[in-house]
């Protein structure tokens, strides 16, 4: 336990038990992200294997609406950009501006999750739920796991907004934001593969 980390937050116990240095933590977090990447990789492989097995049910071509997917894509891409602007604000120590950009990212991400829930509800309502065919099972699992990650990212962003306002920009909040930044940009990377191979490929 280093003296420095104790002196950062004399009031909070939660912040006082870390003596890790930043680069080592971000490297460890990167290794976690890569293992998460393998989870998505396996889900993509499953989807690729099962995508033709519609079992007489509707195919993606009849179900998906590309303008809607373009909207989801835009929300996630802009949220990646606003998060980047937040990290730049963090770099120069402007915590007010950082919280503003984190808030913007939170709203955009929440809108994305909202659109996805709406899409899923519509599919289930139209009789194209996950039980209809192997294609739809694989689709719901792959896109659902990504959506779940985005939802967890939203919780994390909300937590970091709280921590930055409460504790300020100390070494620990900076380190956590660096990890969150990797996580959020990573989710956008996964979404690029989702809209290409799940949605657009159906119409190619």
């Amino acid at each position: 336990m280093s003296q420095a980390s104790l002196s950062i937050v004399p009031t909070g116990g939660a912040h006082a038990h870390s003596d890790d240095s930043g680069p080592r933590t971000t490297l460890g977090f990167w290794i976690y992200l890569m293992s998460d990447c393998l989870i998505f990789c396996v889900l993509f492989a499953t989807f690729g294997v099962l995508m033709a097995n519609t079992a007489g049910g509707p195919s993606g071509r009849e179900l998906f609406e590309l303008p809607f997917v373009l909207g989801e894509t835009a929300l996630l891409l802009v949220s990646s950009f606003t998060f980047g602007l937040g990290m730049l604000a963090m770099q120069v120590g402007r915590s007010g501006r950082l919280v503003f950009w984190l808030g913007a990212t939170l709203l955009l991400g929440a809108a994305f999750v909202g659109m996805e829930i709406h899409e899923f509800a519509k599919l289930v309502h139209d009789g194209a739920g996950p039980g209809t065919s192997a294609f739809l099972s694989a689709y719901f699992v792959l896109v659902g796991v990504h959506g779940l990650h985005v939802f967890c990212g939203l919780l994390w962003i909300a937590l970091m907004i709280h921590q930055v306002t409460r504790f300020g920009l100390d070494a620990i909040t900076r380190r956590r934001l660096a990890c969150l930044s990797l996580f959020w940009h990573f989710l956008d990377l996964v979404w690029i593969c989702v809209f290409t191979f799940v949605y657009l490929r159906e119409f190619a």
Partner: protein, 123 residues
């Protein structure tokens, strides 16, 4: 243990600069629009569309890895880049292998195009 420097400008993390994020965002937007445009306008011949989509996808992944995730050959980024390359190899093996094996299984072992109605008569 080295004491942590408080309130000092962070030298340990790389978060890029504004122009990097603007370039990354701009190029990603163009590539996304190109992907959707290639499919929604129907300008391309169907056989070429999938190849174009894959190219645009890989291009956008690379752009975001460099400009948003700051992967590169700088000394403090090398370990991240190396781990990523290993993961990319694993992904290629898992996805490519799965698709290859099941395609062969479908093509050679299961007459999935055949149904009782369409099966040729026995005699």
């Amino acid at each position: 243990m080295k004491p942590i420097q408080l309130h000092a400008p962070s030298r340990t993390f790389h978060h890029g600069n504004l122009s990097g994020y603007v370039i990354g965002f701009g190029v990603s937007t163009l590539l996304t629009l190109a992907s959707f445009g290639a499919v929604m306008t129907g300008l391309l011949p169907r056989s070429a569309t999938l190849a174009v989509l894959v190219l645009l996808c890989v291009a956008q992944l690379l752009v975001q890895l460099v400009f948003f995730l700051h992967l590169g050959s700088a000394p403090d980024q090398r370990s991240n880049t190396g781990i990523f390359l290993c993961t990319a190899l694993l992904i290629a093996i898992i996805v490519g292998g799965s698709l290859w094996v099941t395609h062969n299984a479908n093509a050679n072992m299961m007459p999935s195009q055949m149904s009782a109605r369409r099966a040729p008569p026995k005699d």
